[in-house]
């Protein structure tokens, strides 16, 4: 009987966010087969942990599980596929977080052209980003979550979400600019 109740809670909490969960998993893993595995694992984890759901934000709770499942799945199955900024040397991290490919040079308004990249290029550039930058951009633009929810899901402070978003977008712009 207990089990039946948990199933009902699961249906109410996790199921409505399944499509979104799949989309997030797709972006984090980079392909649809892996995404499917991840969502299945995540659903199972969510079901087993449904008692820990605090009735606050079902969407953030569900996506947190999907995100964490995606990373542990990747670590286990394709450990080389994901670059975390924590994996980089301190110098590389610094460069990535603060300077990046464009350095600190200030562009003139004329130099700042509106890029015209096709979907494939954008997709490739996004896939190239280190995981921490990619996930905040995906959560913000694709899942359209606010900073608060993103902070909750990625379990970092809002300030870190802000700087990662800003840096990630700069990196994307630089990557897309390099193609020309």
């Amino acid at each position: 009987m207990q089990n039946k109740d948990e199933r009902a809670v699961f249906d109410e909490v996790f199921l409505p966010h399944m499509a979104e969960a799949y989309r997030l998993a797709q972006w984090l893993t980079g392909n649809s087969y892996d995404a499917e595995d991840v969502v299945q694992d995540a659903a199972l984890r969510a079901f087993r942990g449904i008692k820990s759901f605090g009735a606050v934000n079902a969407r953030a709770w569900s996506l947190t599980i999907v995100r964490n499942t995606a990373y542990s799945w990747l670590m286990k199955n394709r450990p080389k596929a994901v670059v975390f900024t924590d994996d980089l040397s301190v110098a590389e991290q610094q460069e990535l977080e603060h300077e990046g490919p464009q350095g600190t040079r200030i562009e003139t308004p004329e130099e700042i052209a509106l890029f015209k990249a096709d979907a494939e290029e954008v997709q490739r550039a996004l896939a190239q980003l280190p995981a921490h930058f990619r996930e905040v951009i995906v959560l913000r633009e694709i899942n359209q979550l606010n900073y608060r929810d993103i902070a909750e899901i990625t379990s970092v402070p809002i300030g870190t979400v802000m700087s990662r978003l800003s840096r990630g977008r700069q990196l994307l712009i630089a990557l897309l600019g390099d193609r020309k």
């Binding site: 399944m18 605090g54 562009e107 700042i112 979907a119």
Partner: protein, 270 residues
């Protein structure tokens, strides 16, 4: 001269583009945007990037996934509860699975219909239920505050400025605790009018969200609810009926009530 772009500008620009700047900073940023060609060009580029990312084709969930998940959960459940081994169970499970996926479709359809009906009912109720007039007026004050160039009449993070400001204007003025350590930063206060009476509203910030705390004469019962998308939470002490309004989730408003009640010092003996 090209104004230099600092890290801070970059962060502000991103927060503005994401709608996460507080109203005061947003207006400030817009003013700069209008006068700074370089910043404007960068902002346009940021918007172009956003459009490009948002228009990427999205993958739809494969049709069989939901069914596979359901069968996994069934297996998980029966593994814990009963644990039948063997083929016959699997066949039974397939049937159940098929039934379940039908019932899920029906459920989804019902949920959509339910949501449509509920939302229209809620709109109607909101329009015609005048019993909670007080809450509506308090929310109106909050909305006005959000639309004004700043959500307060006196801007100060110093409670020793805000409290006397209230005292000089109102017969009853609340304690103004500084709750920055608990995540709610005091930004100022304003006078709202509820019914025909001026009342004190203390304004706090929590990340990019504004919390208006209106203090009414004590002993009023205002139910917790959502009005025009804002969450309303009310509680009482001996001196006031407090009504907190914010776009924060109701759980965060509950936290706010908790820290405010804990942080509000005992009334001074005059």
């Amino acid at each position: 001269m090209i104004a230099s772009i600092t890290d801070n500008d970059e962060l502000q620009m991103n927060a503005y583009c994401d709608g996460e700047l507080d109203p005061v900073s947003a207006i400030e940023f817009e003013r700069r945007l209008a006068g700074d060609q370089s910043l404007k060009a960068r902002y346009e580029r940021l918007l172009a990037l956003r459009r490009a990312v948002r228009s990427l084709p999205q993958h739809e969930m494969p049709p069989g996934l939901l069914a596979r998940i359901n069968s996994k959960l069934d297996a998980d459940g029966s593994g814990q509860v009963v644990g039948f081994p063997g083929q016959s169970v699997r066949a039974g499970r397939m049937v159940r699975l098929r039934q379940r996926s039908w019932s899920l479709q029906a459920l989804a359809a019902a949920a959509v219909l339910g949501a449509v009906i509920a939302s229209s009912v809620m709109v109607t109720m909101e329009r015609y239920d005048l019993r909670d007039d007080v809450a509506r007026q308090v929310v109106a004050g909050h909305i006005r505050g959000q639309l004004a160039s700043q959500p307060f009449d006196v801007a100060s993070s110093d409670r020793h400025t805000v409290k006397p400001w209230f005292t000089s204007r109102l017969p009853e003025s609340p304690q103004v605790p500084d709750l920055a350590a608990q995540g709610f930063v005091l930004v100022g206060g304003r006078v709202d009018v509820v019914g025909h009476d001026p009342v004190a509203t203390i304004v706090y910030k929590h990340a990019a969200h504004t919390v208006s705390l209106t203090t009414l004469p004590p002993g009023q019962s205002v139910s917790d609810q959502t009005i025009a998308g804002y969450n309303v939470r009310s509680w009482n002490d001996a001196q006031f009926t407090y009504v907190a309004v914010s776009d924060l989730p109701s759980a965060d408003l509950a936290t706010f009530e908790h820290v405010f009640s804990a942080g509000s010092p005992a009334p001074e003996i005059k």
